[in-house]
């Protein structure tokens, strides 16, 4: 009884500590579950809905060498800051939006790609994306009732994992793109 009375007299302190705990550990785990850009591959998917965790786990089954984690975000994630978006390695974008974001994408070298030329998306004769709608069991591309759109996968202009197209870094983004391509 005395213990309960003591607790009640300091209830505000216990509530403040609870709130602090949630905020502090949210911050700590954001960092614990993150890795530097050199150790992770980030995919942004401009789709209606994304089962991010399941897709990450599936892609991490064939993790490229030197990579610690694969992160998948929907575009809604940008509300937490655009650093992750601007530094992303892969973008899954509807073709109707591709031209708008073109400066963010790397021009590709079709010889380095494992896909046929007719599977690529070109802008002014230069290949930029790979036409695909992969992982439909993880990604819901359109809202129910919306018309079906064509999508393409692009490589980020700031990616450090696109050595075949930038000449430096590694090719982990390409490896993840291949894994993604193989998902139903």
């Amino acid at each position: 009884m005395k213990v309960l009375r003591n607790i009640a007299s300091q209830l505000h302190v216990y509530i403040i500590w609870l709130i602090l705990s949630v905020v502090i550990w949210g911050f700590v785990f954001t960092h614990v579950t993150d890795a530097p850009a050199e150790k992770k591959v980030v995919l942004f998917a401009d789709v209606y809905a994304c089962r991010e965790l399941e897709l990450e786990l599936e892609l991490e089954k064939s993790m490229p060498d030197g990579i610690r984690m694969i992160r998948t975000h929907s575009f809604g994630y940008v509300v937490f800051g655009d650093r992750e978006l601007l530094g992303a390695d892969l973008y899954l974008i509807p073709l109707s939006e591709a031209e708008r974001y073109l400066p963010s994408f790397l021009p590709l070298d079709s010889a380095a790609l494992p896909w046929a030329e007719d599977e690529l998306w070109y802008w002014e004769g230069v290949p930029y994306g790979v036409r695909m709608r992969p992982a439909e069991s993880f990604l819901q591309y359109e809202a129910p009732g919306e018309a079906r759109e064509d999508f393409a996968l692009f490589f980020g202009v700031n990616s450090v994992h696109a050595a075949s197209f930038r000449g430096s870094g590694d090719d982990a983004a390409l490896a993840v793109a291949r894994s993604l391509y193989g998902l139903d």
Partner: protein, 162 residues
């Protein structure tokens, strides 16, 4: 006349010192254990279990924090305050008040200090208001009505039945 009964004897001071020491040891043990557990949770975190681990870390830090706050406030800090009060009673020169003593229900809490109960002493010179540590109020109230009080800085330190 009866014998003088001190509200805080040597055994009481020792009990308070032990309470503070045990409280500090419990805080240290709990703090180190919680910290080790939180570090382990962080180290064992992967993509698949991140949300569960975060929830576990929040639960561990919240509960451990609550217990630590409780121990610090109600065991260590209160023990220290009471010990300081008890030492002050022992070291200060006492004023003797004789008369009819009533331990009232009026409670006083000085921030950062002990909880007190007001005591009225009807002496030949008039009524005096002094205070007694709330934890000792029942002892004083049971001692009878006609008492000789030994008062230090307005606080009852000892009594003797008249």
């Amino acid at each position: 006349m009866g014998t003088i009964v001190e509200l805080y004897g040597a055994a009481d001071l020792q009990r308070l010192e032990n309470r503070i020491r045990r409280g500090r040891a419990a805080m240290l043990g709990l703090g180190v254990s919680a910290l080790a557990l939180l570090v382990a949770l962080c180290c064992l975190t992967g993509t698949a279990n991140a949300r569960r681990m975060e929830a576990a870390a929040i639960a561990v830090s919240t509960v451990a924090g609550w217990i630590l706050l409780y121990l610090r406030r109600f065991v260590v800090a209160e023990g220290r305050t009471e010990l300081r009060h008890a030492r002050m009673l022992g070291e200060t020169e006492k004023e003797i008040l004789r008369g009819r003593v009533t331990v009232t229900q009026e409670r006083v809490r000085i921030p950062g200090s002990i909880r007190l109960r007001r005591v009225l002493v009807e002496t030949e010179a008039g009524t005096r208001r002094v205070s007694v540590n709330e934890t000792r109020a029942a002892v004083l109230a049971a001692a009878g009505k006609e008492l000789e009080l030994h008062v230090a800085n307005g606080y009852v330190a000892a009594y003797r039945a008249l």
